[in-house]
Symmetry: C2
DNA sequence: CAGCATGTGTACTTTATAGTACACAGTTAA
DNA sequence: TTAACTGTGTACTATAAAGTACACATGCTG
């Protein structure tokens, strides 16, 4: 699903029961012009900056990492982590690239619970 | 160490025993103007694009991921991997953020050798 | 039914990115 | 000693990113 398409769907859903989720009002709350948000939702322009996407995620109750991914971006805090130890993380991520979700989840849990 | 500084040092080292590593000749081989490479090495302008950095890494015998990191970038193939499963990888990377190198290396090996 | 709210079209702007093109002075090598 | 090669200063360019500003027709509502 495209970024704008997804945002529009979610916003319209919220609008159905709460009129505070109009294009204009959401735009105002996340700090952009209404015309811009409208264009973003219709895919007429590229998705906004990371900061605006975060604000939008907050507003819509969505996972910022997911919304960023839909926008073709990766959270800058993750980039920072990788940038600090590029070989280590590059190796790991390429290793995990083809693993199924459950295997990666297992890894996450192992690290979280284990004595690492 | 800054990107340009590092590149200059490495290139000068190679140049010491092989005159094919002048600014001009390296620039030509990686496909940029000599003046531009000169400015990059002296930090007068920002580091080049990912593609040029890759060519430079190849040329200098350096790890592209490391050079990219010095340039403040992350390899686009890694971004792609994360973008495809943002929640999973975001969770994992944030979990690993503070782990020591050896722990992450252990993880890499475990995944590579184990039955995942 | 007047008035505010709504979504969107059009036109423009600002800043960053990623460089090119050319000239010039100093260095080296034949 | 001249021809080529070297590094760099200056000026410029093209494209993308990330929006703003305003006008307009439509629609709801109190």
């Amino acid at each position: 699903m495209l970024f704008g398409e997804y945002v529009r769907k979610k916003r319209e859903m919220l609008k159905a029961t709460d009129r505070r989720f109009s294009v204009r009002q959401v735009a105002r709350r996340i700090g952009v012009e209404p015309a811009y948000l409208s264009k973003v939702e219709r895919g007429e322009v590229a998705p906004p900056s990371e900061a605006k996407i975060r604000a939008l995620a907050e507003e819509l109750g969505e996972d910022p990492d997911v919304l960023l991914a839909m926008a073709g971006k990766v959270s800058s805090d993750l980039l920072e982590v990788i940038r600090k130890r590029p070989q280590l993380f590059a190796q790991l991520i390429r290793e995990l690239k083809t693993l199924p979700d459950h295997a990666i989840l297992r890894l996450v849990r192992e690290v979280r619970d284990g004595d690492w």
